[in-house]
Structure formats: C-alpha cells, structure tokens
C-alpha cells in the first residue's frame, strides 16, 4: 500500500455516507482495492497501524460486522479490544458517555461503534479524541456496509455510475438501505426501491429514488438486485401480514430473476433468511455475490482505518 500524495479525505470520523463527497467515496474505494491485494497475499498483514488501538464498542450484538472490523484492524497490525455492552433503553446515553472515559483511558485511536439508537455515534464523536467509525446506528446509517457494497458493484461492473440498482425489502427500518441510497445516488446509480408501502413509503422519493411495489416492475433491466433481510418481528406490528406472503410477493426466485438484466448480480448484507428473501437456487448462483461482499468488507474497513489515520496524521 502506498500513501497517496494528495488526499481529499480529512475526517476524524466516519459517521455516515450522507456527509461524504463523491471524491471521498471514490478515494476510499480505490484504497480498498490496494487493501484487497494485501489480504489476497500469503502474508496478509501490513504494519500500518502497529501500536494503534481499535476498540470495538458494540451496544448491539453483531458477530459478523464486529469480526470484519476486527480482522481489518489486525491486518493493519492494530491492537483490538472488544467491548460488548448490553444497555437498558433508559440509560443509553449515560452508558455511552460513561464508556467514553474508560475508552479514553485505554488510549483508543479508533472506536468502532454499533448502537441501537440512530445518531448515537454523532452524539459520541465530538466527546472523544479517537476516530469514531459508525458500524451501524439504529435505523440510520451503516456506512462501511454501503462502501463494501459499492466496492462489490465496481468489481462486477467496473463502476457504479449508470448502474440500475433495485433494493428489495424493509427499506424503512434499514440502515443498510439508507447508506446505500446515499452512496449510490452520489456515485450516479439509478435506484429503485421495492416493497410494500408499509416498508417502503413513498416519502423515499424525496431522495431521488423510484419507489415501486412489485418485483416485476422494479427489477426491469436491473443490474444489481440488493435484497434486505426481513426482520420477522415486523410482522407483529402489522407491517406485513406473514413471512409466507412476503416470500410470495418479494422473494427472489430464478424465474423472477429473468425480469432483470441477464448479467444482473444479486447481493444481500446477510445474514440471509434462506428461502425467504431469495430461493436456494438463486443463492447458489455464481452471480450471487454474498460471499464476495463479506471478503470485500474486510478490505473496505482496512481502507477506512487507513484513511482516517492519514487524516489524523496530516492534521
């Protein structure tokens, strides 16, 4: 990995995609390409973050995301500490601020944070010296997920610009969807959201995306089909009547795949409800890139660590 002479990236924190400029996003994605080269080598680590400490501060369980950040940090030779903190809803902010002192004392350089409250990293970031990386805040953003998704689309098609991306499922409650919408729009993709009005309200049209309610209409000519995990508990609040009906209307099968561009790729942030969001045969197809997304996640998170580090050292 080589340090670029000129960087447009001068941020302490990565809180969301919404505040990033196109050039910053491109720079992260380009850097991630070099990072991917590193993890494809025999010796998969570089000493860039040697002596630095990364704290994974997870107020919500997520083994997958946490492991990805942990691996990314280790590939860069950082020390990693994992904090899993269960918290009552009342003491959310208090628990957060209390934890800050501990983390400051541990000399953390990075705080990777997941929290069930939207805006929690925005609340924390100004209070700490460490770089804060949002690993998912409530139903708001999950910026590294969107970056790894864009990285995956770039690998498949060369660029994001002009691609037709269909996102299917519970958009309303999805931080993955929000970060993806922001990022895809910034990079010039055409975005269509598909789902029932209870999960995909027309209000999303304010973000310059198309909202439709059927796969047939939404998948037409799609280059990317992005399926979101359906949360079974939404059924209890009457946002959809049953998993059966959801699967019937919005489950991706090989027949329905035919609505899309024949080269279309299929993505999912995981974990998949097998047979619900997508059928087993679609899951097994070469064009279904769920495993690639996981690999790319490590590369993109390495790039984020690296660039926030650069920004701090240049400061």
């Amino acid at each position: 990995m080589k340090t670029k002479a000129k960087s447009s990236f001068a941020r302490k924190d990565l809180l969301g995609i919404e505040e990033l400029g196109r050039a910053e996003i491109i720079e992260i994605l380009d850097t991630a390409r070099s990072c991917k080269e590193v993890i494809e080598r025999d010796i998969k680590s570089v000493p860039i973050l040697r002596g630095k400490t990364v704290v994974n501060l997870f107020f919500e369980n997520s083994t997958r995301t946490r492991t990805s950040f942990e691996l990314a940090a280790r590939r860069l030779s950082a020390d990693v500490i994992n904090f899993d903190i269960a918290t009552s809803s009342v003491a959310k902010g208090e628990a957060l601020l209390d934890t800050v002192e501990t983390i400051q004392a541990l000399g953390a350089n990075y705080i990777v944070m997941r929290h069930s409250s939207s805006g929690a990293p925005h609340f924390l970031a100004p209070a700490v010296r460490a770089s804060v990386i949002n690993a998912g805040d409530g139903e708001h953003e999950h910026p590294t997920q969107a970056l790894l998704d864009a990285f995956t689309i770039r690998e498949a098609f060369g660029s994001v610009e002009g691609r037709r991306v269909a996102i299917v499922g519970d958009i309303l409650h999805s931080r993955v969807a929000r970060s993806n919408i922001f990022l895809l729009k910034k990079l010039g993709a055409e975005v269509t959201l598909i789902g029932p009005p209870t999960l995909v309200p027309n209000t999303f049209e304010h973000f310059g995306v198309r909202v439709v309610h059927t796969l047939k209409e939404g998948l037409r000519d799609a280059d990317v089909i992005y399926l979101l995990r359906i949360q079974m508990e939404r059924q209890r609040t009457n946002l959809f009547p049953s998993v059966d009906e959801y699967q019937l209307l919005y489950g991706l099968t090989s027949e329905r795949l035919a609505y899309a561009n024949p080269r279309a790729i299929v993505m999912h942030p995981g974990p998949v409800n097998r047979g619900v969001e997508l059928s087993r045969d679609v899951m097994a197809m070469d064009r279904t890139l769920i495993a690639e997304q996981v690999t790319n996640g490590v590369a993109v998170r390495m790039a984020v660590f690296y660039m926030l580090q650069g920004a701090r050292e240049n400061a």
């Binding site: 959310k92 929690a120 925005h122 609340f123 409530g138 953003e141 999303f204 973000f207």
Partner: protein, 469 residues
C-alpha cells in the same frame, strides 16, 4: 399600602385598546388608575418605565412545574420565577406530576405552595381521570372548589371516547374546559419526531400527523355532541387547524393554543439529533408552521401557550430516542415571538400581547390580562428593540432544555409585578433595583412628598426607603 407609580412607559393593553404613553398607579395589589399622566406626587414610589413597554402580565395556560415529584427539573418556586422572568403573572400547571394531581389535596398543595413562594398566580389543572389512567373521571366539582382551573390528562390523552364524552358532558355543567393533548397513542407508538422526509433521513421513528388530527376531529365531534368546552393543547399540524376551523364554523365550543416552538421551528431542527428539538407533539413541516401562524392570525387559534416542560440536563444529554420529550419556554416566549414576528413587522405588538393576555384569558372565561382600574396589578415591563444574546443567565428555571440559548433576541423582560409585588427584576435593566433614585428627586419636589416618606418609614419593606437618603 404604598402607592406605586409606573411612570413614563408605553402602555399596550389590548383589553382596553390602549397603545401609548400612560402612567399606571398601583395600590394594594390593584391598578388604581391609568392615565396619560399621573403626577409623581400621587405615589410613594416610582418605577421609571421611560422607554419601556408596559403590558398586562402575560398568561400561560400550559406549563409543567414538576412539583410534586420532579424537583430535580423544576419546582413551583423555580417555575414561578421562570414565569416571572418571562413576563408571566398567571400560569396554569399540568397535573402529570408524581403523584398526579387528581385529588383535592393535590390541588390544594399546588395552590398553597404557589402562595407561599410568593411569586405569581399559579392555577393547577387537575386530571380528567383518576391516576390519569383514562378509566374513571375525577371529582370535577370538588377539584374545582379546591382551586383547579381546568381538567387535563396532558401527556396521557384520554383514548377512550366514552370517557371523554362523559367528561365533556359533566364539565359543561361546571363551565370549565377540558384541556386535551390530542394524540392517538397507537398511531404515535414509539415515534420520536414527525414522520416524514426528515425522520426517514435520520432513521428516527416517526409520529404520523394523523396521530394528532384524528384525535382533534374526534374531540371536536364529542364537544359538538355534548356541548362541553374542549380546548385543544399545542396544535401542531395543518390538518388539526382545519378540523378546529371547521368545528368553530359549526358552533362547537372549541378553543385552541399554539406553542412558540411550533410557530418558529420545523422538524429540520432535529437534524444533528439535538434533543432540544424533541417534543410532543413533534415539530412538523414548514407548511404546518405557516398554517399555525395563519390560524393564530385569523383567530382559529386563541392563544399562545408555552408547554414549558423542564427536564434535567442529564436526561436531555442523551441519544435522541432515549431523551424525554419537551423544552422549557416561559422565559423565551415573548422575546422570541417579538423578535420573530413583531420586529420583522409580520405582527403588530398589540396582536402578540393580545395572544398572551386576553387570548388565554378568554379561553378560561377570566378577566385576567388587563390594566383597567380595579384589575390585579399584574404588570410586565419590557425593553424592546435592543438586541442581546439570550443565555443561561436569563433563565430562572431549574432546567436548561432550551433550544434558544445563544439566540439574538430583540425584547428583554425588565420587570414583572404580580399583584403589585416584584416577581422579577432584570439585573441588567434595573441594576439598582426597581425603585430607583429619580423617585426621590421628583417626589421630594412635590408637595406631598413629606407625608409619603413618613408612611414609608412605617412600612416593613426594606426596599421602600431605598435611594431616599
């Protein structure tokens, strides 16, 4: 009782259509006289009001004083002080304390505490239902006798329409309003801000606008059917305004209030997750704010009420969804609305004062908010036009959950008199106290000065002699 003259100020009193230089003479807690000029010799003490606005004390029919049970955030004493600092002399406080105010004892407690802290006129609003549970109506008649001014389950709206029907039916006989916080709790569920593009952008749970408007329509229908008086608290959406307008047109006994924050802010204030932009009903869209302004102007909304809702700094210093709803508003109400609407020539000064005096008084069918001779000497003195930064030191509340700290304001409360007594004196505008030296200069040249001085020496009040020697 010493006679006090408020001298040289510009009186704006919508209750008698006054707008111009007038002197006000006060004795025994009442306005004795109001004239273009009253000789200084007629008074024992003079309050110099040259260059100040002199208005009837403001009325806020919707506040939370948190006592009993929430003294960390506010008490009746600190809340009274906050009111006076905002120019208010009569306020009504909501019953969602701990315990809730649903008994005669509870009502008497508020009344006696307010009297003993000696600030302003505090009228408790008692619960509509016992324990605010929405199941059984309270002893409306007894509570009224104990000193309650109205009934409300503010914060926990009466979801059962049958209970609301009975409450309206019964209180019609007593001639008091039901103050209803209109919110369908099933619709608002665990929402934390207005549902719309901003909630979607921020990933925050939305409260749909129908949560308020459907309940306004329901309550209007129940008031129409029963003949009871429904007062709609803190109206926030254009659909609610429409429902109220329609009901008024049909002769329903319906009144309504609007808060300073709903008149001046929109949901965009939530961007950045500022917990001082979190309240119920939530801040809505610019079109709603404009509809509220228009409705206040055309009389669909009767008055301004702050919904002053103190919360401790700890509880507001939190992630957005965990922070409590509400902001304080009594200290900022007039300065803010003057700056936003009067200084910009959108409203007349009379109009703003009307909506903070005779407007709320008319909701209660009370004669408050007037400087007519014989009225209670509830008076507010205000410096207009001079810009300053509103900061924490202008607050008297125990809480600081105020979104306007750091805002440039163009009106500043100089002093507030409640029944003739000092309830608030601005340390900036009256650094030497309310009764300044010039009183001596003038009264000493007056023939009546000597006997007056003697009278004053007898008076217990230390301040009476101030500046005399």
């Amino acid at each position: 009782m010493p006679k006090v003259l408020i001298s040289g100020g510009t009186v704006v009193d919508p209750s008698q259509g006054l707008n111009g230089k007038h002197d006000v003479l006060i004795e025994g807690g009442r306005v004795m006289d109001i004239q273009r000029t009253i000789p200084r010799g007629a008074a024992d003490r003079v309050i110099e009001a040259e260059g100040l606005l002199v208005a009837p004390g403001f009325i806020d029919i919707h506040t939370h004083l948190r006592e009993p049970g929430g003294g960390g955030a506010e008490t009746i004493e600190s809340g009274s002080a906050a009111a006076a600092a905002g120019g208010f002399t009569t306020i009504m406080c909501m019953p969602n304390t701990n315990p809730v105010c649903d008994t005669e004892t509870g009502v008497q407690y508020v009344v006696s505490r307010a009297a003993s802290v000696g600030g302003i006129n505090v009228i408790p609003v008692a619960c509509i239902t016992r324990g605010m549970k929405g199941e059984e109506i309270t002893n409306f008649g007894k509570l009224l006798n104990a000193g309650a001014g109205a009934f409300s389950d503010d914060g926990r709206p009466v979801m059962n329409a049958e209970i609301m029907r009975r409450a309206l039916e019964y209180t019609r006989m007593l001639g008091v309003p039901i103050f209803e916080h209109c919110e369908d709790m099933n619709l608002s569920s665990n929402g934390v801000m207005n549902e719309g593009r901003t909630s979607i952008r921020l990933g925050l749970k939305g409260i749909p606008r129908t949560s308020e408007s459907t309940m306004v329509a329901r309550n209007a229908a129940l008031a129409a059917a029963t003949g009871g008086h429904i007062h709609i608290c803190h109206v926030s959406t254009r659909e609610s305004v429409e429902a109220i307008r329609e009901a008024r047109r049909n002769g329903v006994h319906i009144t309504a209030e609007v808060s300073p924050h709903h008149l001046t802010m929109t949901e965009e204030a939530v961007i950045g997750y500022d917990t001082n932009a979190k309240m119920k009903p939530p801040l809505c869209e610019a079109e709603d704010r404009d509809a509220l302004i228009a409705a206040l102007v055309d009389g669909t909304l009767d008055c301004i009420a702050t919904d002053h809702a103190p919360h401790s700094a700890n509880s507001k210093e939190n992630v957005f969804d965990a922070a409590p709803f509400g902001i304080i508003g009594m200290e900022t109400s007039f300065p803010l609305l003057y700056t936003e609407f009067v200084a910009t020539r959108r409203w007349s000064l009379e109009f703003l004062i009307e909506k903070m005096t005779t407007g709320p008084a008319s909701v209660m069918g009370a004669k408050w908010g007037s400087l007519r001779a014989g009225s209670d000497a509830d008076v507010t003195l205000i410096r207009l036009g001079e810009e300053y930064e509103f900061t924490r030191r202008h607050l008297r509340s125990r809480s600081v959950n105020c979104p306007w700290l750091g805002t440039r304001m163009k009106a500043r409360v100089a002093a507030t008199l409640s029944r003739g007594r000092e309830a608030f004196v601005s340390p900036e505008l009256y650094p030497d106290g309310l009764f300044s030296a010039p009183a001596l200069t003038f009264s000493a040249t007056d023939a009546g000065a000597e006997p007056t001085l003697k009278k004053k020496t007898k008076s217990k009040k230390k301040k009476s002699g101030k500046g005399r020697d």
